[in-house]
Symmetry: C2
Subunit: 492 residues, 2 copies
């Protein structure tokens, strides 16, 4: 890609809706003098140019070269700076036909609009101060949220409350840093470092950030989904169970096309929690491969599962393979399959009498599965809430309160987690320096005590503040920005 996000802003355009056939499609355009740039493609240029921001103008989209009418459209006009990108913008709502979309994009290109880079509209919102980086990332996370929990967490991040907290923490640290730097310049001092660098607020910020970093485990669970693996011997009915669950889900939970990625995996949602169902029957042996290889892969998948569904054959009873899975994962959900058969043995205690063929036992399975998902979730939440504890003392009630408040927000990206971890590690170092010193400044040059390591403290505070600055985008490098926005979907 020869164009970069950091080039001077051109006129850009892209399809913002899913390509295909539907009632309507929206093509988004932005840039300096975007409305004037779009006017030659529109049958009512005067109405368009006179339109106030946040208004809709009806007319025809024309081929700039021939004047041919391409479609009847409704154009949403936004004027800088009160627009999503902070620039002049138009959103063209045309009929949802691939043929029309293609022609409109081609005409816009001829009229001087470049194809937008992925995430370029959001990048411009960021560059023009309409969104900080956490908010910009939240837009991408909203769009790709696999379930309602991930959506709810993303919309909170988009609201900006998290960013405001991070910015507050950063500015406090920058204040302390300025203090430290003044003292570095005027080395002679009276009083105690604890008066000037009070431990308590630093500790409180440290705890708040640690608590936020710990929300990563719940954020990841909500974003990636619990891995639910179906295991059992050959012909026990694993594929039937897989299809039953996928079909059930499609009918009940998700009227939109599913996100099945290949034959053996399907992502779906149960009671608002996303899960990825994996059918080990999907593991096929290529020619020349031995049966053992398939078994080995099943074992690896079963070990890595968040939840294991162990399927046994009611007509033949427990096999040695089943017993192996159960030894490995005593927490497995146990399904006594084929109870529809006349030859079925009664289900042992702890096993759900099940028929993948007839769907018998399905409500039982779904509620057990939901219970396990909730357990997983509360375990992840437990980590979240436990996070500030190691540092909590009776005197630090305020810190705990902040820690809990921060837990209203959940971080979603490895980038966010690792920058928070970095800030926490630096603050731990800073706190260790302050606590180790404890006493007064070496104002008395005749003192034999070692000099207060002001420079080391300044270094740690600077690093913590920089980590937060990268998080909110205040000091993100061009490379970081490029990496973040290029992962967005087109038209966003």
């Amino acid at each position: 890609m020869s164009r970069s996000y950091l080039d001077p802003p051109l006129l850009i355009a892209a399809l913002a809706t899913v390509p295909g056939t539907s009632a309507l499609a929206v093509i988004r355009a932005s840039g300096p003098a975007c409305i004037e740039g779009f006017a030659p493609c529109f049958s009512r240029p005067d109405a368009l140019l006179a339109a106030p921001g946040h208004s809709l103008v009806h007319g025809s989209f024309l081929d700039v070269a021939t004047g041919e009418k391409i479609d009847d459209v409704l154009v949403a006009v936004f004027r800088a700076p009160a627009s999503p990108t902070g620039e002049d913008q138009v959103e063209i709502s045309c009929h949802g036909s691939p043929v029309i979309i293609r022609r409109v994009l081609a005409v816009l290109e001829a009229a001087g609009f470049s194809t937008a880079l992925p995430g370029e509209f959001t990048f411009r919102a960021f560059a023009n101060g309409k969104q900080d980086l956490v908010g910009a990332e939240a837009i991408d996370e909203l769009v790709s949220a696999p379930g309602d929990a991930a959506r709810a967490e993303a919309i909170k991040r988009l609201g900006g409350g998290l960013s405001r907290r991070l910015e507050k923490a950063r500015s406090t640290m920058l204040g302390l840093l300025a203090e430290a730097e003044v003292r570095l310049d005027y080395a002679e001092e009276d009083g105690s470092p604890a008066d000037i660098f009070p431990i308590e607020p630093l500790q409180a910020f440290r705890d708040e950030l640690a608590s936020l970093a710990a929300t990563w485990s719940i954020g990841r669970l909500h974003r990636e989904g619990a891995r639910v693996v179906i295991a059992g011997s050959t012909n026990v009915g694993k594929s039937s169970l897989f299809n039953l669950l996928v079909r059930e889900e499609r009918a009940i939970v998700s009227p939109e096309p599913g996100t099945t990625r290949d034959w053996i995996e399907s992502d779906f949602e149960l009671a608002g929690l996303p899960l990825r169902l994996i059918d080990t029957a999907g593991i096929r042996e290529g020619p020349g491969h031995i049966e053992a290889l398939g078994m080995e892969r099943s074992r690896t998948l079963a070990e890595g599962a968040d939840i294991l569904l162990c399927l046994a054959d009611a007509t033949s009873g427990l096999g040695s393979g089943d017993e192996e899975f159960l030894r490995m994962r005593p927490d497995a959900i146990r399904l006594w399959n084929k109870v529809d058969s006349a030859a079925a043995l009664p289900a042992p205690p702890g096993w759900i009498a099940f028929s993948a063929l007839e769907g018998r036992g399905l409500p039982d399975l779904l509620s057990t599965l939901e219970g396990k998902l909730r357990e997983l979730e509360s375990r992840a939440r437990g980590w979240t809430e436990a996070a500030p504890d190691p540092h909590a003392t009776d005197e630090k009630g305020r810190a705990d309160e902040k820690g809990r408040a921060a837990a209203d927000f959940v971080v979603a990206r490895p980038r966010q987690k690792s920058l928070l971890d970095r800030a926490v590690a630096s603050l731990d170092e800073a706190l260790a320096i302050l606590e180790a010193w404890g006493g007064g400044f070496p104002s008395d040059s005749r003192s034999t005590a070692p000099a207060f390591p002001l420079d080391a403290l300044a270094l740690e505070l600077r690093d913590a503040a920089d980590a937060l600055g990268e998080l909110t985008g205040e000091i993100a490098s061009p490379e970081v920005l490029e990496a973040i926005f290029s992962g967005f979907c087109l038209g966003k």
Copy 2:
């Protein structure tokens, strides 16, 4: 479906964009007091209620039950009667996530919005006089246009010019009919029927309608695409050619996901003309089927093709199967495949030296194919232009002119074609009555001439006017309307 298009209008809502993950999705709602009905789901009800028509309001979409913020949205407000449906309307532009779309639709349902029937928004536009039936159908045709020619024809129909002509023809016929009915009441007459029922304008309308009906052949070609069949013996490279063309097209012509419907067919567009490529290699024999059955099907497909691509093996020369295909279709495009092989024989005259493997000869094939498509198109256009001829005489210059003008429009639906045919047939009967009579009215009761068949003439005029009334929807029955709109896509 228990609800009907003809029920009193409820609040309705539906997703109007393609489901899936994208920058944004649009959910459309309409109905009496739609803006008030939507207000409880919106964070800024006062701004919404105060918003003028054709304006955009930014805010949060809320769960009516819990007040939970579901997404940041932009709401387009339309006020009756200046709205697409003629009712109050809102269009909610949310982030394009299946999770968000699902929640927004569920909340709207809880707030009293019913799921819109397919085409119900367009139906309401029709019911409220914003669109006649030909225009309403054009919206559906626009969305499903397989190529630019079909799009251009649909946008012209949407413009209303065609409907205005049909309505003019109908009102002229209704005028003549009223005249005939008055004369039926007052049977005694002076003067000639030719003075009161002039043949010329009836003939002109008849020719105009016949010319329009004849555009059906070009409309069908543009809408359904030319059938291009790849034939040749086993292992000659039919699938490689199929994949080469499909890949070529996807890369060059259509950046949107294609519309491949199964393994052996793919719809695409070449130079604005749609075609359906059919690979006879896709015909597989089931177990127990004989080879001959596959050959028989290939032969049937080749016979029904608009264009046949005959593929021969350059390394073995012409086989008896190839010769059979060429005898059947001497107009086939001939591809001398595998010229990349060292064993290839030189291409005979009239054969394109080709390599499906390396893409050699592809530009030649594409331009030959385009030529054949243009030939097909001009043959269809020839029928269109020839249509009025059987009735054209030197004296009917005006009729010809009208016929050509009507040909600017193209009809697209079997419904439109058959109603036009019905109107033409009735006008032919009416003209025959007038021409057969020729003389004066039987005003003289002592005359021995047979009575002028005024009642038969009135019947034919009424039928022609009714056919046109059904076409524009002025007198369409509930069943006809139900049948038309239920074929539309959801959210339209």
